[in-house]
């Protein structure tokens, strides 16, 4: 199995440790991982804003970079959702279809494809809240949707519960959007910030020390708010917990 590691642009520049943790984790699990060096952005920021013209070249470059892998894995639900569900600014060739179908978010790849049962190398002594992004829940369906009458499941929680020391606390509104929303966070600053502040307040009320997510973009926004409020919260990517660092 040959896996192309998709490292979203903001993880490359701002959270390199998340990229490292993802790579090391996949290597530990015996996967043949390659990082295509010419990757940039998947085109989501433009696509989300309805700007198909300016999304097209990013989408094309993404497909060029990843067409020759069995699977493409990225530690970012919203970017993966864009690839799988909204990569339609470019012609839908066989190659594009292959890339869309085989691009996985890390949690679903570990759960559904690798079916990992344990992480014996990892310990994480924290009371954590899980934040699955809206894209990961309602797009990729890594968690049951609270709006639906369907049995409860949460792939992120299931993976974390295999790590020694982790206590999972469910907050009051676990699947309420945190307000990041891509460019929304600056174009609609007041609402975005209010949603983030309410999310941080929910964490504080439940006395968690750490927020674990498969989506660093939401955490970037939440952490920015928590830091400004001097709230004692740590924000980490699930790859860092499952790989036992780096943090």
């Amino acid at each position: 199995m040959r896996v192309g590691l998709f490292i979203p642009c903001y993880i490359d520049a701002i959270y390199p440790e998340v990229g490292i943790a993802t790579l090391e984790l996949l290597e530990r699990l015996g996967v043949d991982v390659v990082v295509p060096l010419n990757q940039t952005c998947c085109g989501q920021p433009m696509g989300n804003e309805g700007d198909q013209k300016n999304a097209a070249s990013s989408e094309q470059l993404f497909c060029d970079n990843f067409e020759n892998f069995d699977y493409i894995v990225g530690p970012a639900g919203s970017c993966v959702k864009h690839v799988r569900m909204h990569f339609d600014a470019i012609p839908q060739t066989k190659k594009v279809e292959h890339v869309r179908k085989n691009t996985y978010e890390l949690v679903e790849f570990l759960t559904d494809i690798l079916q990992v049962k344990e992480f014996p190398w990892a310990t994480y002594n924290h009371k954590v809240a899980v934040h699955n992004s809206c894209s990961a829940i309602r797009g990729l369906h890594i968690q049951s949707r609270s709006e639906w009458q369907e049995p409860y499941f949460n792939k992120t929680e299931d993976l974390l519960s295999k790590v020694e020391g982790v206590t999972i606390e469910r907050i009051t509104r676990p699947d309420e959007c945190c307000g990041f929303g891509g460019t929304f966070c600056v174009t609609d600053e007041a609402v975005s910030v209010k949603m983030g502040q309410d999310k941080v307040a929910d964490y504080m009320q439940h006395e968690v020390t750490c927020i674990v997510s498969p989506d660093m973009s939401c955490l970037m926004h939440q952490e920015g708010i928590a830091k400004r409020q001097k709230a004692p919260l740590k924000f980490v990517h699930i790859a860092q917990v499952l790989n036992n660092g780096p943090f």
Binding site: P16, N48, S57, E189, G196, Q197
Partner: protein, 461 residues
């Protein structure tokens, strides 16, 4: 028509004080929670959503047939059916009916279509005294505001706001802020108006093609008072309200109020099938007002399935923080975002961007409208007709060149690193220049990117 600045209006609502927005959020979130509880008691809930969606899509794809059948059947029952292609014809038709009956005092129950046509102002300008009888609508009428929510028109107001309003307008004790007493005051204020009214106006939640009946759902009983006392009943019905058969109502009544408020049904589910007794008249104004045009919009026609339950508004995290008035339109929240631009693309061009695209709206919708997807498609439409924010897309134009070129991208990453290091804090946190930094700390751009690390630790070893 000037653009609605929905983001600015929402900011005003948030920063008004520390009571209104949190209360609004709490009350609507409670409605969403009650909806979840109500739905969880019904094992066939998801299947019912599928069926309701399918019936609506069936009806809309055969709408000419069902409109014709509805009109034939209603006419057989002694109802006079009028046709209005737009808001102007709708209002004129209602006015003409009233005028020919010398009706100058009217009571009305809630109708989003009449709101959409701004009928109240039209009739009042022609000397008609019009009283809203739904409590929430009456509050909004007395405030001179549009409804802020489809089902709970005054939900953005606190009890204290209503106490102040009623003291000013209907003479209640300004210190009286008990909702029970305020409701009682309005009951007593409204009673004589029902008794004196020359005509009663309603909308309709559903219209049944096979019988010509229409259905009105209320909790207060105000539609039944409106229809059972005056000798003239005029109902405004949008063409998308039609369902083929009576038995379809079984599904829709089970879904409607559970989705809206988490109650099994509304207190009154009223079916009108013709004039009441001899000497009374019933008129229907069957109205298009942009609906047939929307039916022809490939990406957007499914918004016509909407049964106006408001579940998408209750669940929407952005709507709960913004308040409904921020949208500056008859329909607010997620459903408003996808309907309002069909009336005026320029005025409402910013609405589709007032969403974090969390997708919860699509998941609660009892008739499975792909609301979130349509919001995305409206964004594309706004970009294509040059109605979206210019600055953002100039920026995207520049960014696109960078993302398309890996070398430029690496340079930009480094530039960002040094840029952040060298830029003084006051510039980063200046509110006009940087919307991120007003209430958030900036993330740190690392000197060594993941790619740098990978080359050093994997490729050079």
């Amino acid at each position: 028509m000037s653009k609605v600045k929905v983001d600015q209006n929402a900011a005003d609502f948030i920063y008004m004080d520390d009571i209104h927005q949190p209360t609004h959020d709490k009350n609507l979130w409670n409605a969403r929670m009650k909806r979840d509880t109500a739905a969880s008691g019904i094992p066939e809930w998801e299947q019912m959503r599928d069926l309701a969606s399918q019936i609506k899509e069936h009806t809309l794809t055969h709408l000419d047939h069902y409109v014709q059948q509805f009109v034939t059947e209603a006419t057989k029952r002694g109802v006079t059916v009028h046709f209005a292609k737009d808001d102007i014809e709708h209002n004129q038709t209602v006015y003409d009916i009233l005028k020919s009956h010398h009706a100058t005092k009217i009571v009305k129950s809630k109708s989003m279509l009449q709101e959409e046509c701004d009928m109240g102002a039209f009739l009042e300008a022609r000397g008609i005294e019009l009283i809203e009888t739904d409590l929430g609508e009456r509050i909004q009428q007395l405030s001179g505001e549009m409804p802020s929510h489809i089902v709970m028109p005054a939900i953005h107001k606190t009890t204290a706001d209503v106490a102040e309003l009623f003291a000013r307008t209907i003479g209640t004790d300004p210190n009286e802020d008990d909702p029970k007493q305020l409701t009682e005051a309005m009951r007593n204020n409204a009673r004589p108006k029902f008794l004196e009214a020359h005509a009663g106006l309603t909308g309709a939640n559903f219209a049944i093609a096979e019988t010509g009946a229409f259905v009105v759902c209320t909790n207060e009983g105000n539609a039944d008072l409106t229809a059972s006392i005056p000798p003239l009943h005029i109902a405004s019905i949008g063409i998308e309200k039609i369902l083929p058969k009576t038995k379809d109502l079984g599904l829709f009544i089970r879904l409607l109020s559970r989705s809206a408020l988490g109650t099994p049904a509304t207190r009154y589910t009223s079916h009108f099938m013709g004039p009441r007794e001899s000497g009374t008249e019933m008129h229907i104004v069957l109205t298009d007002n942009g609906r047939s045009r929307r039916l022809g919009m490939e990406d957007f026609w499914r918004s016509l399935k909407c049964i106006r339950c408001g579940a998408c508004m209750n669940t929407c995290p952005v709507y709960r923080r913004s308040g409904g008035l921020a949208y500056g339109a008859t329909y607010s929240g997620p459903i408003g975002i996808i309907i309002d631009p069909t009336f005026d693309e320029s005025k409402f061009s910013e609405l589709p961007f007032h969403s974090s695209l969390c997708g919860s709206c699509s998941e609660v919708c009892p008739v499975r409208i792909n609301i979130a997807e349509q919001i995305g498609l409206w964004r594309q439409r706004m970009v294509n007709i040059n109605e979206s924010s210019k600055t953002l897309h100039y920026a995207f134009g520049a960014v696109e060149k960078v993302f398309a070129n890996p070398k430029l991208f690496r340079l930009a990453e480094k530039a960002a690193y040094y840029g952040m290091k060298l830029t003084p804090n006051w510039l980063l946190y200046h509110k006009k220049l940087n919307a991120w930094g007003k209430h958030r700390e900036l993330p740190e751009i690392k000197k060594e990117t993941f790619r740098d690390w990978y080359i050093k630790n994997r490729l050079k070893k």
